[in-house]
Symmetry: C2
């Protein structure tokens, strides 16, 4: 049995989404709400994000239903009233979504996606929305960093075995392809997303033969035009000499060795020596691939130290976004029944209201700054980033292909000024907040603070007597 068939999207939900739904329905509260999804802040060394994950979400939402089996489970919990179960039985997502298309660059504090729907619907899909957008966006943003330092060298995703499950491995392959990688070793991603697949051989292959040379010859017999020989099982230099023998045999047969792979040791030094051997032996066309604990920092270090590497297989550290394995992403209610909404929790700023992001470019065509405005503010300048992607529970327009999104990223990346493309960013990209939004935000915050906090504390302290001194020393 394939346990992944059990992944019912309607249960990709925290329990509280449904307890809140029950209370909303009981109170007769199911008016239109808008939730805004945004990343609060940059992980260390990050200066931008790459929007990703939207197409996967849009693939699920129109058919989002509670199956009988899922409902049976919910009933079995004994936590919910019959009315909620009946409501869920008929559940459809009927709302609208505006979002920044996949492949575009965005920045902290900008809405990536806004959901407008009856509040129960917008709430029920929360966990799914956050999970899907955060994972892909985190991975695409990480992969873009590797692309940024690769100087056009070939990049391949090799992370499948250590990603956090199958779902994550697929998203890593897709996100890295989106951000300029040539392909992946992941066959399932190859099948589902049509991404080119790449592979070489494992140490186990080499060691299962009586000698390394035997293994190389055997592999070349099976794949006389596409063999990449892993040469570090015993010693890279000795391995390179053996690769030359195989390359010679292939050449004599009118075929050619595609490359060799280094997977351990001092990759910069070894790649120069292996290049020397291959060149001296008359095989300048045989490529050198490197793998093993690579990430953007290591690729940058290798290239700047003169490594002779043509292709980088980037695995675990990309696939888990090792230095920043999560984004501080939030899905916050910003409007309900037309009222602007905010919370005051310390250290967690959310901008009020339905919003749009406008992007401004310099004379050189590069991104200059962004401005966040209330959606209903009439703004004639700048390029609006959020576009309608769902209306009345249906997709707006056709699904976008991965090729389209990849091309958009490539175009977009060129427009990002160099200092924000760097993996050691030279500053924070300017994101302005327009005055009417600031004014509304301040006004609402003042009101909430007076009603919910100040008046209440005054009353509470009055009733407290000597407790006050212990609470507010």
């Amino acid at each position: 049995m394939n346990p992944w068939g059990q992944y019912a999207p309607e249960l990709v939900t925290d329990l509280y989404e449904l307890t809140m739904a029950e209370s909303f329905l009981r109170e007769g509260m199911n008016s239109e709400a808008t939730f805004s999804l945004f990343v609060r802040d940059y992980p260390e060394d990050r200066s931008c994000f790459v929007s990703a994950g939207l197409q996967s979400l849009l693939q699920i939402l129109p058919d989002f239903r509670f199956s009988d089996e899922s409902l049976k489970y919910l009933v079995s919990l004994g936590k919910f009233c019959t009315e909620l179960i009946e409501y869920l039985r008929d559940f459809r997502f009927s709302g609208s979504i505006r979002a920044i298309p996949e492949g575009r660059i965005f920045f902290a504090q900008e809405p990536i996606l806004e959901v407008t729907a009856p509040i129960v619907e917008a709430q029920v899909i929360e966990t799914l929305v956050v999970n899907m957008i955060q994972l892909d966006t985190m991975l695409a943003s990480k992969a873009a960093r590797v692309s940024a330092v690769a100087s056009g060298k070939e990049l391949i995703d090799f992370g499948m075995r250590r990603t956090h499950g199958v779902d994550a491995s697929l998203k890593a392959a897709r996100a890295s392809y989106l951000a300029g990688f040539a392909g992946t070793s992941n066959l399932l991603a190859g099948k589902i997303y049509g991404i080119p697949v790449f592979g070489t051989m494992a140490h186990s292959y080499v060691t299962s033969f009586h000698s390394e040379l035997d293994s190389f010859h055997a592999f070349a017999r099976a794949f006389p035009d596409s063999s990449v020989l892993l040469i570090d099982t015993y010693d890279c230099i000795a391995g390179a000499f053996k690769a030359v023998e195989v390359a010679t045999t292939l050449r004599n047969r009118g075929k050619k060795l595609l490359g060799v792979r280094l997977d351990s040791g001092d990759l910069a030094d070894l790649s120069r020596k292996v290049r020397l051997i291959l060149d001296e032996a008359g095989f300048p066309e045989v490529k050198i691939m490197a793998s093993g604990n690579l990430d953007e920092y290591e690729v940058e270090r290798l290239l700047s130290s003169g490594a002779r590497i043509d292709s980088f297989a980037v695995g675990t550290r990309l696939g888990v976004s090792a230095d920043a394995p999560y984004l501080d992403i939030a899905y916050k209610l910003v409007e309900y029944e037309g009222r602007p909404i905010l919370k005051l929790s310390s250290g967690k700023k959310t901008w009020i209201g339905q919003k749009q992001v406008h992007r401004f470019y310099g004379a050189d065509g590069k991104m200059n700054f962004d401005r966040v405005c209330l959606l209903d503010t009439e703004v004639k300048e700048g390029e609006p980033l959020l576009e309608p992607v769902m209306q009345g529970g249906q997709r707006v327009g056709e699904p976008e292909s991965l090729a389209q999104i990849r091309a958009r990223f490539s175009d977009e990346w060129r427009k990002l000024p160099e200092k924000f493309r760097s993996i050691h960013p030279g500053g924070i990209y300017p994101v302005e907040v327009c005055q009417p939004l600031k004014d509304l935000d301040n006004k609402t915050a003042r009101l909430r603070r007076r009603e919910e906090v100040e008046d209440r504390l005054e009353k509470g302290i009055g009733e407290l007597g000597n407790l006050a001194a212990r609470l507010f020393p």
Copy 2:
């Protein structure tokens, strides 16, 4: 459409597994091989691992098949010969697996799992095995650290929205329950694994009402015996006063408020103040739950600084194992056709041969040291850790329940000496390697080094002439 239904386990495979398979079959090489799965080294601050993921793997392997659709994709790649496709069409995993049962403690360099099967079969399942065991083991090992510092306080997994996909969210819920958590917010995990589910309310719920107090009363109306009120939306102290009002209303109706939740600010200070308010108001039984960027370090800090917190909701940092988001796990060929196998790649030690781990206990019943031996060495002392779990492609024994595994972990954890349970470990647990294994390993390494490296370099250097000085300065 539910895209997760497309997750065909047979394609959870790196391309090279199948190119190697093609070459093996072409060479007539499909003899019995043993692969050993182990973690090379500890991430920072780690001193042990908790075995997990085995049951999920054993659920998949007996039915592991290549579907027509998957084969069609493989054919479409144009990389494989007809013989391989026909072989895969009939593919069954017919091998044997020995493994350390889930919930047991193990250490770096110890085999967790050994697969013995025709080499092509053992190779084809590699990516799946590594991915499934590493994720669950990493998460259970992380969760055990949170349990270790929680002093018996209630722990709940709240990580679903920021885990790396749905697969990871399920594994995080399961692994943390295995390691002593009380439950999860994750409904899908609740359904699939029968884990207790918990939840409170979101800030969006509170802010959608005209006042915080209205929202609290509304929630209490729906859940008069199980409400946990989120009190930090505007101000925790003001929120606590409001919670007292609701608790009073509930008490007057013969019901009771279950708890309040703090999600921001100085949790230690706020929890003491909120406790004071609740106690003074006559509600000592109302629990305080805390959430927000928690992990084992933060839980330890909070408890040691006198926080009055009864329940910790641990989210993102547990769900992605934020400080150690991957294990240095490897699946290595250690025996083929009865020959012991090793590689010499620098910095990547693999112990040769089929192995067993024997555990030795002190007079106090605590773990004292482990010893790794060759499987065919007659060892009469110590407790063997790896057990047969598959034979001839079929499971040995019944599937283990999560409750069984959870109880095993609890028992096992008590036997682990305090200094290795600490999240600031006081040393490395002793793992000995028995002399016959060391001898065989050394002998094989010497032989391989002479045949594969020294003889070859001598020959290569002889042919090189003046290139030698540039390669070996």
